[in-house]
Symmetry: C2
Subunit: 390 residues, 2 copies
């Protein structure tokens, strides 16, 4: 069984160590990591449904990883990207369809977002850095720190949409408000920022108050579908993952309704080279209802709403680096996380952070920034030189 399982993942140099002392190797040579399996029942669960059960068993402490955990996940991603046709691959596909999630309706989205983002601002503050930005940072050089890189990302977004003092920006899915506050502080714009996470909005409002920006940045606890008004710029950083592909034409309609004729928009999102359902364990335990789109799928936002795509940048390796930072800060605070939650939570989030990092280093996931304008807008940036000026 274990041999079939290892084969389904491309026979990687990973070793299984069973409770009875038995060992099974994928490829010969020194293993990158050894998976210790505590009992017969766990082994059976792992072999039946590895995608779901590895996370479950690891969180419960019934599987232990010795060696390079991050590299091991990379090898599993690389192995499963190969076209394998065997029973494990088929079972994986069937399981995916059996466990499909309900879509992101207004109520469904609120519940999905609550599940992930409302587990406690203090928890996220332990490892996101001072900006509380929970999206891919932008590292102009390898020496850039996490906080610097989050500010660099904010600035990158501002330049791409050619932000000018006095403009009014709408920020759809504003997180803890870092970008909205940066835009107002550094570029002198007015921002209306939407988010359905109660905890995030509360935090963002406090921060606006503390920075004396409450009069120019308005945080609205509401769904992007209820955006009203007219704006010079539309930005959305890290929301599209939660919108649901079926709602993309609707999102495009919302933007068409609120973006001025000469406006510019930017969507920053995790994506894929081609569509694939979300990893089931991540969907169940971490991000219910989330799904990173392919570029082709993203075009459903723009094509029928008379938009023109001006610029797409894929910075997936910057997300791997962002996750390096988060993971390191997270591990440093593991004791405090355990005190806030429990050991199983600590392990679950460790796997999520390491797994996400591997998804970006292996090319399993992408990070797209897409700039767009109305099709008839000729006030678009002439080149992209302005983004790269010192």
């Amino acid at each position: 069984m274990l041999r079939a399982l290892l084969h389904a993942f491309g026979d990687p140099p990973i070793q299984f160590a069973l409770w009875n002392g038995d060992r099974v190797m994928g490829a010969p040579g020194d293993p990158v990591a050894t998976l210790h399996i505590s009992d017969r029942r766990s082994l059976a669960r792992l072999c039946m449904d590895p995608d779901m059960e590895f996370g479950e068993l690891y969180s419960a402490g019934r599987v232990e990883v010795e060696g390079d955990f991050g590299r091991m996940i990379e090898l599993l991603y690389q192995g499963s990207a190969r076209p394998v046709r065997n029973s494990v691959a088929i079972a994986r596909r069937v399981a995916h369809w059996m466990h499909r999630r309900p879509s992101n309706t207004m109520d469904g989205s609120r519940e999905n977002i609550h599940h992930h983002y409302d587990i406690g601002n203090e928890f996220y503050a332990l490892w996101l850095g001072s900006t509380m930005a929970y999206t891919c940072a932008y590292f102009p050089t390898p020496e850039t720190t996490l906080d610097e890189a989050q500010f660099a990302k904010f600035e990158h977004v501002c330049r791409k949409v050619q932000l000018r003092a006095g403009e009014h920006v709408v920020d759809a899915g504003c997180g803890w408000g870092g970008l909205a506050l940066y835009m107002a502080r550094k570029h002198g714009v007015k921002v209306t920022a939407f988010n359905i996470s109660r905890e995030q909005i509360a935090y963002a409002r406090e921060r606006a108050q503390a920075e004396g920006l409450s009069n120019v940045v308005q945080f609205v606890e509401d769904d992007y579908r209820n955006i009203a008004g007219q704006y010079d710029k539309f930005v959305s950083v890290g929301m599209l993952e939660h919108v649901g592909v079926e709602n993309y034409p609707g999102l495009g309609e919302v933007i068409r309704g609120c973006l001025k004729p000469d406006g510019l928009g930017l969507i920053h999102t995790i994506g894929r080279n081609r569509w694939k359902p979300m990893h089931r364990w991540i969907d169940r335990r971490i991000f219910p209802g989330a799904n990173p789109p392919s570029l082709a799928q993203m075009m459903d936002i723009f094509e029928d709403n008379d938009f023109s795509v001006l610029d797409v940048e894929n910075i997936r390796l910057h997300y791997a680096k962002t996750l390096d930072w988060w993971w390191e800060l997270y591990e440093r605070s593991a004791d405090r996380v355990q005190a806030m939650f429990d050991e199983s939570f600590v392990r679950m989030w460790r796997l999520y952070l390491l797994g996400s990092r591997a998804a970006f280093t292996t090319g399993e996931m992408q990070l797209f920034q897409v700039v767009f304008a109305r099709a008839a807008n000729n006030q678009i940036p002439w080149t992209r030189q302005h983004v790269y000026q010192p």
Copy 2:
């Protein structure tokens, strides 16, 4: 009839002047242009099938345009972009389907390309400038001249694929060889360049000889489907328009077969915000078998061939500026064109150049440069800063 026709194009400020002195206006006020129609039969043809017959009648001199010809075509594009549901719009759609062209098979492509590109290098030399580049130029500033802008485009492409001395590049659809020769001359690379236009290949070979580059730039008269070998970089500037959407997965397979694991590729193509069949008159008289894709359609090249899109840039307004230059040079040589061909040809190509310019100024057409790599390639550019370094 004329009123219905004008209404189908959004009632633009355009005037019809008939042979008998009658005049019909779209919108009140001073007309941007007046269309003089020479006889009853021409009027009937124009009203029956305006998309096809305007070009036919203008070429034959049975319709004359007085006033701002370029602005008139822009108004017609803008008007027809509006969602109109009337008999003219329906007839237009039916006619599109009735006149579909055969696909770009190996033989079909050769015939289609011969039709346009083999009408005479001397003709093209009159108005393309010294580079003979017949694709969108890149104007870093408004003062850039056509030749400078074509060289800037070559350099823009080289930087985007991070060309390094000693590399081997494959150029699919190399035109008159300007880019291939530039790459070898300026960046010290070896280039293998494919093209099925006999006249272009002959010209390119002569030029390589004259520049002493025959040993490093090989011009191959063959279809992109026959590309063999392994290359560090894949570039294709202005070929995709002629490939046919149905052949995109096949093109992706060709690239997958010839691009080294750490290679980078770039495709430069006219595109659209969303798919639309080619303008029928352009398809019949100018570019048989051509069709600019939407970005979503372009993904058929990449998605199933394990590629990752790194960068998309839309520089449509640069194509409008390129066409300004071409049109001006063309008009200056109109007498020589007439001597080479006939008056009807002069008029046909005037309409084509002005119509193309209007397609880019109105957002009817786009110009996409797409940079891509294999999904697992981590030797991708870290940022795009290198493209914008002085």
